[in-house]
């Protein structure tokens, strides 16, 4: 039965005349005083109107743009028909994390980028619709585990409970395997709980996703450090796991190795965000963990993590919150939405600027940073134009807090304690990208520990590939059957995105 009245489809030629439905959101001046979510979500009516914009293309390009192969036209049609819960379940056939992905995926770079409407009009708001149906299902109390197949008797350990781990665990559980998920922190969700702020991804949503895993029969064990308490080999030899998936993320914060970087008030983004998000330091002293965000806060970097950090600092009371980025606005890797949100909230962007040293006071607190201006030269390996220092352009900015958000390296804990596990020169685990199996049979990996810092959806995509690889491995079915070229091809194109 429909959850809502069916929306009569317009003739296709009229669909392009419907404007994209705007997402209602908290006023910028209000929202910088709280940690509540910025966009309020679409109303059912607006969702149906937005869904009615879909041209229902015969060859839906949007699906090619989705790393986890969501049936986008299928779920959008269900929204138009008012079948919101059915729409949510349609997404969940391939994506365990719709409420999360609807909020944090860079849709403008993926599904919405290739939407046919994008050429002449604005794309269908696929991300907003995804978020809408996932929220609708959850708020209606309608989240249910699908019927599970009979047990295969195989047992798989998932190390790390971030987006890659969640996806692997959900997929494997739905194939009938017993899954145990290990998390080093006290709360499951990985970067979704320690890294992404409440105002962008409320923690109750992550908690609901973890609950969903439990409904699928996944055992979730927190405060358990693999590599210290049990090694990966011990999991396989002593705990009887048939395969292990490593999704431990890019956990080691990068610093710039410049003078004064260990002064008080200088944080890695991981620490700053972990204090605020995971430990709830924004509620100090109600919560015990403190955080320091002064009046003049500089955040280094141009990614989503930098945007999250700078917007957190405003909510913690910063008067001047700067983004210091060594390239120009065009090269910033952050989601467009987050850059817009930061601008609306009064973040000051200092482009083509790079710090060279920090100056502190006698008590060891940072007081100022010396920066240089940059200009863009030839493209580098990343395809972006390389920033070059303009000699003699040095200037000083007064700061009392600095957040370094210039990326992460891979945490060495597991590679160090797993003999024979091959890594590349950045310490990332080497895998076969069709199966996600590492150099050690039975040990698989995916997400940031393989690619270096990337996005939630790419990690989820890797998780899907790994789940298939693990399934084939533990069931003894061939990885690449010659008579199943289509399957192999699909996986290949998936990992490229």
């Amino acid at each position: 039965m429909a959850d809502f009245k069916k929306y009569e489809p317009l003739p296709k030629k009229d669909r392009t005349k419907v404007p994209r439905q705007e997402m209602p959101q908290q006023d910028p001046l209000e929202r910088i005083k709280n940690f509540m979510e910025v966009p309020h979500g679409l109303s059912p009516e607006a969702a149906q109107i937005e869904a009615s914009r879909c041209l229902e293309c015969k060859k839906p390009l949007c699906m090619d743009g989705c790393p986890v192969e969501v049936d986008i036209p299928g779920f959008i049609r269900l929204v138009m028909d008012g079948e919101f819960i059915a729409a949510a379940r349609k997404i969940k056939e391939t994506n365990a994390l719709p409420a999360v992905c609807g909020r944090v995926c860079p849709q403008e770079e993926q599904c919405e980028k290739v939407c046919v409407l994008t050429k002449k009009y604005r794309p269908v708001a696929i991300g907003n619709l995804e978020r809408f149906v996932a929220d609708y299902e959850r708020e209606a109390g309608a989240v249910m585990a699908p019927k599970l197949p009979p047990s295969t008797g195989k047992k798989i350990a998932v190390v790390g409970s971030g987006p890659a781990g969640i996806t692997v665990a959900a997929d494997l559980a739905q194939m009938g395997h017993k899954v145990v998920m290990y998390e080093a922190l006290h709360k499951a969700g990985g970067v979704l709980v320690y890294g992404i702020p409440e105002f962008r991804l409320p923690k109750k949503i992550v908690a609901a996703e973890i609950d969903y895993l439990r409904k699928l029969g996944v055992e979730v064990i927190t405060s358990y450090v693999i590599g210290k308490l049990d090694t990966v080999d011990e999991l396989m030899e002593q705990e009887g796991f048939d395969a292990v998936f490593i999704g431990t993320g890019a956990g080691l914060p990068n610093f710039m190795k410049i003078e004064g970087e260990n002064l008080n008030g200088i944080y890695s983004a991981n620490e700053f965000l972990t204090r605020s998000n995971l430990m709830g330091a924004f509620k100090f002293p109600e919560n015990d963990t403190p955080i320091f965000a002064g009046e003049n806060v500089a955040v280094l970097g141009g990614g989503n993590t930098a945007m999250d950090s700078v917007r957190t600092s405003l909510r913690l009371g910063a008067k001047n919150a700067y983004i210091i980025y060594r390239r120009s606005r065009n090269e910033m890797p952050a989601r467009l939405d987050e850059i817009h949100h930061a601008e609306q909230e009064g973040v000051q962007f200092k482009f083509l600027t790079n710090p060279v040293r920090y100056m502190g006071d006698e008590n060891g607190w940072v007081r100022a940073m010396e920066c240089v201006k940059m200009e863009l030269g030839e493209p580098d390996a990343s395809g972006r134009r390389r920033p070059v220092v303009i000699n003699g352009s040095n200037f000083t900015i007064p700061v009392d807090t600095v957040v370094v958000a210039v990326g992460n390296s891979s945490n060495p804990l597991i590679p160090q304690t797993t003999p024979g596990l091959e890594t590349n020169r950045w310490g990332n685990i080497k895998v076969d990208d069709k199966t996600m199996m590492s150099s050690r049979p039975g040990i698989f990996a995916g997400g940031d520990i393989v690619t270096g810092g990337a996005t939630v959806i790419l990690a989820a995509g890797a998780g899907k590939v790994a789940a298939r690889g693990i399934h084939n491995y533990v069931m003894g079915t061939p990885f690449y059957a010659d008579d199943d070229k289509k399957g192999a091809k699909e996986t290949e194109s998936e990992t490229k995105k």
Partner: protein, 291 residues
């Protein structure tokens, strides 16, 4: 959830907790640490391992009340539970046959010296342990350490017990007397560790110190615990906690340890106020009942 099996006051504001943690104890080695979290709103606090009962799976930690979190933990009783005990974390202390090892502990740095002294002894070393405190009544783990070491020497700042002076007073005297020392490991307050490495610098005795900077996750993710060692930034949680003492920038570490002192004061005072209020209410209630 991790059950407190026994709790004992060692001296004013210092308590020993024996916690049921068989999996951690099975894996832990001397020199490693754990992270404790009391409850949902609690902090993650790194604590040195002050004893490993491998047979019964019991972990010992010694907690000194210095702020809100430690005060609140020290109000817990046997039978209560810590929400989380994570570990073992960090690299175990370097244990091999050095010859004559001198283990030095000061204040709440004394308990973690105990499993290290035991391990060094087991590895065939001669172990001399020096412990120091401000005063006799603050001296802890004396019995344990006298059992674990070939020789136990004690100093008190006020001369109320043992040698009048600091642990370095004893160490310097040993050097002056020509005692051959092959390795020193020191755990305690930063000024004590700094004084120890300054004593062993000239005679070039290999000296390890166990650092206890501010930490959040303890697995290398947050970078809060960075310390400068030999001019390089290291993360104490994954590169340590033990480092070559002669290479450590103690002055930077001292400043970093004070980063949250203002906040710590606010939280501690609020905690003591609240506790005072609660006690006051209880007394009033009892007064009423008496009348």
């Amino acid at each position: 959830m991790f059950k407190i099996l026994e709790k004992e006051e060692l001296c004013d504001k210092v308590h020993r907790f024996r916690i049921e943690a068989p999996r951690i104890v099975r894996k832990a080695k001397a020199g490693q640490f754990v992270i404790l979290r009391q409850n949902e709103s609690g902090e993650r606090v790194p604590m040195s391992i002050g004893g490993l009962d491998k047979e019964n799976g019991i972990l010992t930690v010694v907690i000194q009340e210095v702020g809100k979190t430690s005060a609140s933990m020290n109000r817990m009783k046997a039978g209560d539970f810590f929400a989380d005990v994570v570990g073992p974390l960090g690299i175990p202390s370097h244990v091999e046959k050095f010859g004559h090892c001198v283990c030095i502990g000061g204040g709440v740095g004394i308990p973690p010296i105990y499993p290290i002294a035991q391990a060094l002894k087991e590895a065939g070393n001669k172990v001399t342990t020096i412990i120091g405190s401000r005063s006799k009544n603050l001296l802890i783990f004396e019995k344990e350490l006298s059992e674990a070491s070939d020789q136990l020497l004690v100093s008190t700042d006020d001369g109320s017990f043992g040698t009048h002076g600091f642990v370095t007073t004893i160490l310097q005297k040993m050097l002056d007397d020509g005692v051959k020392i092959d390795m020193v490991i020191a755990i305690g307050p930063v000024p004590m560790m700094k004084a120890v490495v300054n004593t062993t610098r000239k005679p070039k005795i290999k000296t390890y110190v166990s650092l206890n900077p501010i930490m959040v996750d303890g697995t290398g993710m947050c970078g809060a615990c960075r310390v400068t060692v030999g001019g390089q930034t290291k993360f104490a949680c994954v590169d340590g906690p033990d480092f070559d003492g002669h290479e450590v920038d103690f002055d930077e570490m001292t400043k970093r340890l004070k980063m949250y002192s203002r906040y710590e004061k606010i939280a501690y005072e609020k905690f003591l106020d609240d506790e005072h209020c609660r006690l006051g209410k209880q007394v009033k209630q009892m007064d009423k009942q008496d009348r």
